[in-house]
Point group: C2
Chain length 181, copies 2
């Protein structure tokens, strides 16, 4: 039972933050900017979102949920039914799509160590781990994060912007990783 004004402000904040994050690099957007753009006071903003990261996480949430749904119950090769290696390749392709569309948001959600502590990372981790297990790969725990590492947003942005690689080239390189299964 969230109060009406609270719900309205939450929506305003997310909308304003999305625009600001799209317009300029995340670390140039201050909490004050977001509060001003949303037309709310600092206190109101901090009440819900203690830092930029939590705002970006909230914004990403729906997109991630959708992919998670397709991983669990979608059609093969993304969903259940296909061989593990193919499912991993499909997962890589889908994640690249997600990064392409929302890399700026992911970068806004405070890159670095915190990435591993989000619920989303836990989900990707569990998914890939289950694929490794299904493929009969020994000692999956050591390998999971190794296979997930190239999906770090910084890596993607570097490959895409600084190196000028295309999405397809990146997906192709990731696909080659599935040989380790």
């Amino acid at each position: 039972m969230e109060r009406a004004d609270a719900a309205r402000n939450r929506a305003r904040i997310l909308e304003a933050a999305a625009e600001l994050f799209a317009a300029r690099p995340p670390h140039e957007v201050t909490m004050d900017d977001i509060a001003k753009a949303a037309g709310v006071g600092r206190g109101t903003l901090y009440r819900r979102y203690p830092d930029r990261a939590s705002i970006a996480v909230a914004l990403l949430d729906e997109h991630e949920r959708e992919l998670q749904e397709r991983l669990l119950r979608g059609d093969p090769p993304l969903g259940p039914g296909a061989p593990p290696a193919e499912r991993l390749a499909a997962f890589y392709a889908a994640m690249v799509r997600l990064l392409e569309d929302h890399a700026h948001l992911v970068l806004g959600s405070e890159v670095g160590r915190t990435r591993f502590q989000t619920g989303a990372y836990g989900f990707w981790r569990a998914h890939v781990r289950s694929l490794l297990v299904a493929a009969g790969t020994p000692r999956p725990d050591a390998l999971v994060d190794t296979l997930l590492a190239p999906l770090a947003p910084e890596v993607y942005v570097f490959q895409r912007s600084d190196l000028g690689l295309g999405m397809d080239e990146i997906v192709e390189a990731l696909t080659r990783l599935t040989r380790v299964l």
Copy 2:
């Protein structure tokens, strides 16, 4: 021709910074802390090192140089002479060693996008790329950063500290990646 007092202060700064970085997380160490610990003024500190990252880079420099030297002119399998896949595995093992000893410093050198812009990353990149070329791997450029991604310090710290994996387990997982050659 660096003045004697300048050289003395540079040494003091690096020594103090090394201690502080070892004692607590990098982002809790302020430039002011370093200046105070080194017994120099803010201006003196900023004259040489405009931010924490540049200090950490300077601290890492010697360790990285040593490994770079061994890659270029050391004994196989790290140095020239061994098959590319074995050299890559040896490189992984050596990097894990470096991370184990100095991860806190690497983390101090401002994690994230900047990592890719350091000279050191360029060196690792060129090395791995040459191994891919030597192995006859097609389209090496897309694959290099994919193979380098699991060596991001955040990933290593997560595997080592949060997951409790051992060095050998991580090295073993990385070694499995060399199959893509």
